[in-house]
């Protein structure tokens, strides 16, 4: 993955490499953006990573950076970026991949997007996702699924499948995603790229269309760990518009080249083996061996209540979602079902039935059920207590390990349509990622290798606000694992 001796395939450049070339005036922002737009032109009909392109604006912005290159240029100037369509962008239609918001033109911009734009990124467009971020395959998009750049017959994972596929297909140098139960990490794993879910509260949620407010976090999907660190550096910070955001205690540092000597890594025993494909385990175990060889102190760790994490999540997240999605009522914006309505209740019911897809309706009903009179204590109350146990489990595990490690997803990318018939099977795609969201911890997925020609992700989990430690270890692991494959779509451009 190097551009030494010339620019080579621009689509293989990491964001940091591209910034270096631009800084040395060996590459222009326009050329970089142009290369990504060309790749989109060529392949996005097949991949469908994007719901909407802002190509013209992107070219104009890149040209403006070029004119003002050199001293005083913003730190991320000219980096062609994909934005998940769950983040509102003023003046650029934001749909959350839902019919409900098909023509919604936001009147403000999400803080995370604003911060990256202020740092100089160029927005290429808005990426596909599972409707309102509910799903693990991007097949729940109202506008059709995204396909995995490694195998167009397979899903890219989800819900940030468009963002992960865009990065894997060379259709963006990096991307913004959001993660409620694994929505950054799982598609990153299935697409062979890096995905970081920051500690809850470290990145503003203002302008992130809420799925489950106490779980949602915005984060980077990138080609390398160092790129993830770079983007994170510009994402973190307390936002006056988000009461649950905090100032990150550390300045986010770019990881250095070093080994893993002395880093204590705990493999979560309850989650390896059972329910995880053998070929995924095999790639995972090889990666662990390499990390051990690089000095990591690997041991087993226990999260005794982790089997309750998935059921607790599927109470709490849909409950929050049922309220978060109540605002889509056809009054102030978004879809309103056509025709005359006998009264406002009928208008609500028709609008919401036409505007939401099946999975969204399912979760709204599930959440409504869990909160409804007579069930609250047994479901919502009990799940909040399970959440406490999961938090405590992690705290105990971190007494003996600096980081925990797991496969990111139990399988590699599955075939389109393979799991759409049974919601519960789909939910189990997130079995290794959901516990992290319950505890609000930072976690990163990095490529661990290929199984059957498809990427496998390795997930590292750290204590709250341990991003620097997590990123450093992930960068070291990335080096020793030495994953150097790119999707066939990027390879074609060599």
């Amino acid at each position: 993955m190097t551009a030494a001796g010339g620019k080579g395939n621009l689509l293989r450049l990491s964001a940091i490499e591209a910034l270096g070339l631009i800084g040395r005036q060996e590459l222009t922002a326009s050329a970089l953006t142009g290369a990504y737009l060309a790749q989109i032109n060529q392949h996005d009909n097949d991949v469908s990573a994007y719901l909407r392109l802002t190509a013209t604006e992107a070219q104009l912005e890149a040209a403006a950076f070029e004119a003002a290159a050199g001293e005083g240029a913003p730190p991320l100037a000219g980096l062609p970026t994909a934005i998940k369509d769950v983040l509102v962008t003023e003046g650029v239609i934001t749909t959350c991949a839902s019919r409900m918001l098909e023509n919604y033109n936001p009147i403000y911009t999400a803080t995370s997007v604003l911060k990256l734009r202020q740092a100089g990124i160029v927005m290429l467009g808005k990426t596909n996702m599972d409707e309102f971020a509910m799903g693990s395959s991007t097949e729940n998009s109202a506008f059709g699924p995204t396909r995995n750049p490694w195998d167009l017959g397979r899903v890219p994972g989800g819900s940030s499948g468009g963002s992960a596929a865009a990065v894997a297909a060379g259709e963006a140098i990096w991307a913004l995603g959001s993660d409620t139960g694994g929505s950054i990490r799982q598609p990153a794993a299935l697409c062979g790229v890096v995905g970081l879910k920051p500690t809850y509260g470290s990145v503003s949620r203002y302008g992130l269309v809420a799925f489950a407010s106490s779980f949602d976090q915005v984060g980077p999907i990138t080609k390398t760990v160092r790129d993830a660190a770079l983007m994170l550096k510009y994402l973190v910070g307390k936002d006056a518009n988000d009461s649950t955001s905090v100032e990150h205690p550390d300045e986010i540092a770019l990881p250095e080249d070093r080994d893993l000597a002395g880093v204590r890594i705990g493999i979560v025993r309850e989650l390896v083996g059972k329910g995880i494909d053998a070929e995924v385990m095999s790639v995972f175990n090889q990666a662990i061996k390499k990390m051990e060889a690089a000095g990591a102190l690997v041991s087993e760790a226990g999260l005794p209540h982790v089997e309750y994490a998935l059921p607790a999540y599927y109470i709490l997240a849909p409950a929050e979602a049922s309220a978060n999605l109540a605002r889509f009522d056809g009054v102030r914006y978004g879809l309103r079902a056509g025709g005359a309505h006998a009264d406002v209740t009928e208008m609500y019911e028709e609008t919401r039935s036409q505007g939401f897809g099946d999975e969204v309706k399912r979760r709204i009903m599930l959440g409504t059920y869990a909160l409804s009179s007579g069930y609250y204590e047994a479901y919502y109350g009990q799940a909040q207590k399970v959440r406490t146990l999961v938090v405590q489990d992690f705290a105990a595990a971190f007494a003996d390990a600096d980081l925990l490690v797991l496969p990111t997803a139990p399988t590699t990318a599955f075939k389109l349509g393979e799991k759409t018939g049974d919601p519960l099977t789909m939910y189990k795609s997130d079995i290794c990622t959901i516990p992290v969201n319950l505890a609000g911890l930072p976690a990163i997925s990095i490529p661990a290798g290929l199984a059957g020609g498809l990427p496998v992700g390795l997930q590292l989990i750290g204590p709250a606000f341990s991003e620097n430690l997590l990123l450093q270890a992930a960068h070291s692991a990335e080096s020793v694992i030495g994953f150097d494959k790119v999707s066939p779509l990027v390879k074609q451009a060599d």
């Binding site: 009147i107 403000y108 992130l208 009461s243 109540a326 605002r327 914006y333 609250y376 919502y380």
Partner: protein, 482 residues
């Protein structure tokens, strides 16, 4: 059978903060529709609430003034229901961990001191406004509605009393006392017509002396003190009639129609409320530390009871006067403002309680709408005390000021009402009057001192009441003796 009404009140108070509860839009009444809103109060996707600090301080002020206990931690909940004026599909409110609990507010009713328990005080946000288009402007019969989000998200404090009020009159007195207290706290306009103070009531009746509660109804839409009292009386009457005819009161909402003065039970909903309360994940807990409570206590404005005590101590006013003067914040402020122009608290107090309140009662005017300012009244009192006008003429001038809003000096000048204190001028009149009434003059000289009053009256008649009474007496004595 004798029935005893049992009433609990639920009062909503819109706080007079500069901005809304969870966003920076200006919080004020009226305005062109949808001109004071933003992504947060219109619930655009991705928007998040951030609590207004001043609103929480006001909430604490109210809670302390109502003698509540403020637990160290309270949280916001989401109350879920669909309605066009509720943009998020839930209202941010408080549920099982309210900001303050267990308070009380005392009232005097039928010369008896009654303590009404306050169950809870909590913070929430107001809804938008539905404008019902159609014949009546009311919800029933409207063909469609228009929604204006200017009010959406205005800070709202809910105060819930225990069911410890036993008559419509007592309910009215309680609400009036609460309103007065809120005015002193400077936290709300408390304008019932504009909806910044709203009151619903839970009403039940039970056989007198019974210890158990009857089935209650929720009485809504009482937008004035008069309507509250009338609506409660009507609803109690209705419930008693139902029970006397062997029927049963049904738990339901009852609407008071102030146009007809009737109460109508609302069509019971086919669908019971199921608000699915759960903790609001977008907001963090409120932790009222003891230092926070101390600070609010220290910054607390002077409350009516304290003010009354101060009037008794500093101005030497009788308890009754002090209580009347502090019975409303406006009157009390008016009193103190007048003292700045005329520094005799006894005289000012007597004028306010006699002339001013008398005029307001007789004319049905609110103090806020009274044309006489504290400066105007002070000016008048100065003229009386300096002898420029007599006390009697002063009262006439005051009535004129109430009607026209003119200044005392101008009225005196225009009507020539200046008091005659010039002894020479009065002596000339006295001579005329004595000459015209020789018999009475004889009587006086014979020792009948009372006759002096007759002569004073005659002189007053001649001068249109402008003669200075003291000078007149002196001059008369001189002349009669002579």
């Amino acid at each position: 059978m004798e029935f005893e009404p049992v009433i609990g009140l639920e009062i909503h108070v819109e706080l007079s903060t500069e901005s809304k509860m969870f966003c920076g839009c200006r919080a004020e009444f009226g305005g062109e529709p949808n001109t004071r809103c933003c992504p947060v109060c219109m619930a655009h996707p991705g928007a998040l609430p951030v609590a207004n600090k001043k609103a929480i301080e006001y909430l604490a002020r109210i809670s302390l003034a109502l003698n509540c206990n403020i637990p160290g931690r309270s949280i916001f909940h989401r109350k879920n229901y669909f309605y066009p004026d509720l943009p998020k599909g839930y209202q941010i409110s408080q549920y099982d961990q309210p900001f303050a609990v267990n308070g009380q507010l005392g009232i005097i009713f039928d010369d008896e001191h009654i303590s009404v328990g306050i169950e809870r005080v909590h913070m929430e946000e107001d809804t938008a406004k539905n404008i019902h288009a159609g014949k009546s402007g009311r919800i029933a019969g409207a063909l469609y509605s228009l929604i204006d989000f200017n009010r959406s998200g205005t800070p709202l404090v809910e105060i819930v009393t225990r069911p410890e009020i036993h008559s419509p009159q007592a309910a009215r007195i309680f609400l009036n006392k609460l309103k007065n207290l809120l005015k002193y706290l400077d936290v709300s306009d408390c304008n019932m017509e504009e909806g910044s103070l709203r009151c619903d009531a839970n009403v039940s009746v039970r056989p007198a002396g019974s210890g158990t509660l009857g089935v209650k109804t929720e009485l809504k839409n009482m937008n004035s003190f008069k309507h509250l009292e009338k609506g409660l009386a009507k609803e109690i009457e209705r419930q008693v009639a139902v029970l006397e005819f062997g029927g049963q009161v049904v738990q339901q909402t009852v609407h008071f129609d102030f146009a007809s003065g009737e109460v109508t039970p609302m069509r019971s909903k086919e669908f019971a409320h199921d608000y699915r309360y759960f903790p609001e994940p977008d907001l963090v807990p409120l932790a009222a530390s003891s230092s926070f409570v101390q600070k609010i206590t220290a910054d607390m404005p002077e409350l009516p009871d304290e003010r009354a005590k101060r009037y008794m101590a500093d101005f030497n006013l009788p308890a009754y006067n002090a209580e009347v003067l502090t019975s409303s914040r406006e009157l009390s402020d008016y009193f103190e403002a007048t003292l700045a122009y005329f520094n005799d608290s006894r005289i000012v107090s007597n004028w306010l309680m006699g002339e001013l309140l008398g005029y307001l009662n007789a004319s049905g005017t609110e103090l806020a709408g009274c044309l006489v300012t504290p400066a105007g009244l002070g000016g008048l009192l100065k003229m009386i005390s300096s002898g420029e006008v007599s006390n009697a003429v002063g009262k006439e001038i005051f009535m004129e000021m109430c009607k026209t809003g003119g200044a005392a000096e101008n009225i005196v000048a225009a009507r020539g009402l200046t008091q005659i204190s010039d002894a020479a001028e009065l002596a000339a009149i006295a001579e005329r009057v004595i000459a015209a009434n020789p018999a009475q003059a004889e009587q006086f000289r014979a020792g009948k001192d009372k006759v002096l009053g007759f002569f004073v009256g005659q002189i007053m008649k001649e001068t249109g009441g402008r003669a200075n009474p003291q000078v007149t007496s002196r001059v008369l004595r001189d002349k009669l003796a002579g």
